[in-house]
């Protein structure tokens, strides 16, 4: 999918993102244990799910390299992508649910959200990609799956953006920036059929998104 020189770097970046996701899941669980607030439990489950997906996808990537070196064909990357995709869908649905249950309204974002499927339709009409292929229970990379993720992360980005505009706090900005970068990474993944370099850009943006979330976590944990 990406350039040959980038093989392995994507798994390395996902390994770093995995550690950050675990740290956020742990902090959210600590918060839940102290306050018994359900929203923190949702954040915990969401990031725990993300971290599991990232771990499996990065391990599958490394195993895929090994399998290729041993001249044996093992669909590790395909298994990894399928699990990571499903984990991300579940993780972001949990976060979306947390926001919907807290704000109890979709009105301000529903209009902007409706633009995402429209954008997806335009991409699918113009991109030189075959129709989606399901290999048994496995999903091969396809812009449609990335559009689903983009749709979910875009909603979370809007919510965190609204939170930042209301609070004007640095921590809220870092969370907003984190999800914005992750949303942009999915946008890059959607557009891979146009350029293989977007695979690299997508992974870099995803890592930067998680680093932004880590910055927030470090700022919060240093609070006296």
């Amino acid at each position: 999918m990406g350039p040959r020189w980038f093989v392995g770097f994507d798994s390395l970046m996902e390994s770093v993102a995995f550690i950050i996701a675990v740290a956020i899941a742990y902090e959210a669980f600590k918060g839940y244990r102290l306050t018994k607030q359900r929203t923190l439990l949702y954040v915990h489950f969401s990031f725990a799910m993300l971290s599991a997906g990232l771990l499996i996808d990065s391990l599958a990537g490394f195993l895929g390299i090994l399998a290729r070196a041993l001249k044996g064909f093992v669909a590790f990357t395909l298994v990894g992508y399928t699990i990571y995709f499903l984990a991300q869908v579940l993780a972001y649905i949990i976060l979306v649910f947390a926001y919907v249950s807290q704000t109890r309204t979709l009105s301000t974002t529903s209009v902007s959200l409706s633009l995402v499927p429209l954008f997806g339709f335009v991409v699918l009409q113009t991109a030189p990609v075959p129709t989606i292929r399901l290999l048994g229970p496995l999903i091969e990379y396809h812009p449609v799956s990335e559009i689903v993720l983009l749709f979910l992360v875009f909603y979370i980005t809007v919510q965190t953006g609204l939170n930042y505009s209301a609070s004007r706090e640095a921590n809220a900005f870092l969370v907003f920036l984190g999800f914005l970068l992750i949303a942009l990474s999915h946008l890059a993944f959607v557009l891979i059929p146009f350029s293989a370099m977007l695979f690299v850009i997508g992974h870099v943006l995803q890592l930067l998104g998680f680093v932004s979330l880590l910055s927030m976590l470090l700022r919060v944990t240093r609070t006296k």
Binding site: E27, A28, K30, G31, L34, T35, K36, Q37, T39, L40, V43, A98, Y99, Q102, T103, R104, T105, T108, Q159, T160, L162, N163, A166, S167, E169, N171, A172, L174, V175, M216, L217, V220, T221, T223, K224
Partner: protein
């Protein structure tokens, strides 16, 4: 639209509000200061102060006037709560 505050404060929120008033008063707060600071009725204040004493996060000082202060456990709990509140707030969630 975001940070829609709940209609009623949770028990945890009331505990923290009381403890914050005590902390604000240099860890020596009179019941009347807590009553106004935490926005509670007299009966509810007495109930919550008893509960917090049972939890070991505040204590009543002996002396001419009744004063309340945070215990070490109380200070640690409050600091941890503030951290968690900032963490949840960064995502836009209100504790």
């Amino acid at each position: 639209m975001m940070r829609k505050l709940p209609k009623y404060r949770s028990q945890m929120r009331i505990y923290v509000d009381i403890m914050r008033v005590i902390q604000r008063e240099n860890n020596r707060a009179k019941p009347t200061r807590i009553l106004y600071g935490a926005n509670l009725s007299h009966d509810r204040l007495l109930k919550y102060l008893e509960e917090l004493k049972t939890l070991g996060v505040i204590e009543e000082t002996d002396g001419a006037e009744r004063l309340y202060n945070l215990t070490q456990k109380g200070i640690e709990f409050l600091n941890e709560f503030i951290r968690i509140e900032k963490f949840a707030g960064a995502f836009g969630f209100v504790i």
